[in-house]
């Protein structure tokens, strides 16, 4: 499985959250489902983005702490074991260097009607996202 095989990160390739963390990733994918994470990482990598995956909110915070530069965009799952997507978002925003990173909520339900607009959420993307939508949003939020 691409994100979970130990490998050295390099541009254009999905990265492993367990491997060494580069200082310059474009996109952080926080997603507990291995297949979803792998698909997102692969699709974005094919478009030339440098992608880092994380299987939980706690792991993502650890990844962010190791990065020299924050990512340009975060894809964030909502329902995850342990820390939810909203919990992660609150924690991440406590770091003043991470407050401006756009976050795309990537979720299996159309939660927007349930939860309304959340501060710090740039976009809601319902799973399974259409490839065109995924890439358009990524381009829009990583100018």
């Amino acid at each position: 499985m691409i994100p979970d095989e130990p490998r050295s990160p390099h541009p254009g390739s999905p990265s492993n959250s367990d491997g060494p963390v580069s200082s310059d990733y474009d996109v952080l994918v926080v997603e507990d489902d291995q297949d979803c994470r792998e698909v997102l990482c692969s699709l974005l990598s094919l478009e030339g983005y440098r992608v880092q995956g994380a299987a939980s909110g706690a792991e993502a915070l650890d990844v962010l702490a190791k990065m020299d530069e924050p990512p340009r965009l975060v894809f964030l799952d909502l329902v995850m074991p342990g820390m939810s997507g909203f919990d992660f978002l609150s924690e991440m925003r406590r770091d003043p260097t991470l407050t401006e990173i756009p976050v795309v909520m990537h979720s299996g339900m159309s939660e927007q009607p349930y939860f309304g607009t959340r501060p710090g959420v740039a976009h809601w993307l319902q799973k399974p996202a259409r490839l065109d939508d995924l890439l358009a949003i990524t381009r829009q939020l990583t100018p």
């Binding site: 499985m1 489902d33 692969s42 329902v79 342990g82 299996g108």
Partner: protein
């Protein structure tokens, strides 16, 4: 509509459900007005996008595509119509559709020149009337971390346990959104949506 195609039933425009006409090679030569109305509502391809393309190319899944192509060839070879019925449900509504495949003949020679594909809704009811809900077997589906994994595409849920993954349709999980359900993607939907199979069964 391709102006060179000899037969396009004018009455199709009055049909409330989508219809298309295929030539002898299975290419779409025209659609009715309902096609675009339904396409807009379901984010499907508009008529202008599908005319000139192979009808079967719009069917997802190699096996299903091959099955429909066989049916199409049978209609063309025999010159006799066929019909089939299938469910196309939403979480709220049970919907039974009928698809008719009718050979189109040039007059007066009766030479078959194409096929009409007409899809009609023939029955609709609240989903609960057709599939009464019970209580799902929580132990069967709840993973060790306390969450239930549901495919965001087909809405099947994964049976808890080691690989290979087994996905089952559980109406209760489809009908009621729950906060303890984590959405992933099953092997089939991964291929359907992204043309991408995992290297190994998760």
């Amino acid at each position: 509509m391709n102006p060179d195609f000899p037969v396009f039933p004018a009455a199709l425009e009055a049909e409330p459900w989508p219809a298309c006409v295929l030539d002898m090679n299975g290419r779409i030569v025209g659609v009715n007005g309902a096609w675009d109305r339904i396409a807009r509502a379901s984010n499907g391809p508009l008529g202008i996008e599908v005319v000139g393309t192979r009808w079967s190319a719009h069917i997802t899944g190699a096996e299903l595509r091959a099955w429909y192509e066989t049916l199409l060839h049978r209609v063309l070879d025999r010159g006799a119509g066929e019909s089939l019925r299938c469910d196309c449900n939403t979480p709220e509504r049970y919907r039974l559709f009928s698809s008719r495949f009718e050979p189109l003949r040039r007059r007066p020679s009766s030479e078959t020149v194409g096929v009409l594909v007409l899809t009609s809704l023939i029955e609709e009811a609240p989903i609960g009337e057709r599939y009464p809900l019970g209580t799902p077997d929580e132990l069967r589906y709840r993973c060790a971390d306390g969450l239930v994994r549901q495919c965001s595409g087909c809405r099947r849920v994964r049976v808890a346990g080691p690989p290979p993954a087994v996905w089952e349709l559980v109406p209760e999980y489809v009908a009621t959104p729950r906060q303890d359900v984590s959405h992933g993607i099953c092997r089939l939907c991964r291929e359907i949506y992204y043309g991408m199979l995992p290297k190994e069964e998760p």
